[in-house]
């Protein structure tokens, strides 16, 4: 039975969602700290250091579940406009996030980018071309 039709597909999607929680959650938390909206009592370097292993775990989950989900139904995804927009935004967000985000504007842009990636991912189910 192909993956896209088996119960494994929603299971892998759930793991994908957990990865979002870890990966995007740690990024947004770090950005909100950079904007001095949360956890102001703690040094930003200490927060980043503590979050780093969870961020890496989240990234590892995304880099495995993402391609597996994509490969399970390539025609569906390459014809889905939400997926294409999401992948473009994901690329921008990953490149943008590579350096140390120094300014508050950078933190704001990061939050906006990742929010759009999440919205794009959620919209895939609503933009399937059947």
């Amino acid at each position: 039975m192909p993956l896209k039709n088996s119960f494994l597909f929603p299971a892998i999607q759930s793991i994908h969602l957990i990865g979002i929680g870890l990966f995007v959650g740690t990024i947004v938390l770090s950005d909100l700290r950079a904007l001095q909206l949360v956890l102001q009592r703690y040094a930003i370097t200490e927060i980043r250091q503590q979050l780093a292993p969870w961020n890496r775990a989240g990234l590892a989950i995304m880099l495995t579940t993402g391609p597996v989900l994509f490969a399970s139904d390539v025609p569906r995804y390459i014809h889905n406009p939400a997926f294409l927009v999401k992948m473009a935004l994901l690329l921008v967000a990953l490149i943008f996030g590579r350096g140390e985000k120094q300014t508050k504007l950078a933190a704001l842009v990061s939050i906006a980018l990742w929010t759009c990636v999440v919205v794009g991912g959620r919209a895939i189910a609503d933009f399937d071309i059947t």
Binding site: F7, S14, L17, I18, T26, V28, L51, A82, V118
Partner: protein, 110 residues
């Protein structure tokens, strides 16, 4: 046009509310993780729970019969009660959060 009809028929209404729900998951998950090394995050957790409950209520209200009839949804609600009563910095809290995510995905199936 009622708000309910507008959200259901607009292209972006439902995906945005659902995405807020997912971002709430990321927020709350992040809080559960951070609780392990930073004490007293009650206020921040409340923000996450508020986001999740607000978007969750809207999602339910848009398709009440679908969720009411879903066993997976009822399991999810039970797990949510468990999570809210669990110590945030514990392994049980993290495990319950993971279980809730699987139960949420299961709504589409049962």
């Amino acid at each position: 046009m009622s708000l309910q009809k507008f959200l259901l028929e607009s292209t972006w209404g439902y995906p945005i509310i659902a995405a807020i729900h997912v971002l709430g998951i990321a927020w709350f998950g992040g809080m559960v993780l951070v609780s392990r090394f930073i004490p007293d995050l009650r206020r921040l957790r409340m923000i996450g729970i508020t986001l999740l409950l607000a978007s969750g209520v809207v999602l339910f209200w848009l398709q009440p019969m679908r969720y009411y009839n879903s066993t997976s949804f009822r399991v999810k609600m039970l797990l949510l009660v468990v999570l809210l009563k669990t110590k945030p910095a514990s392994a049980l809290a993290l495990a319950t959060w993971v279980a809730i995510i699987f139960a949420s995905r299961g709504i589409a199936f049962f």
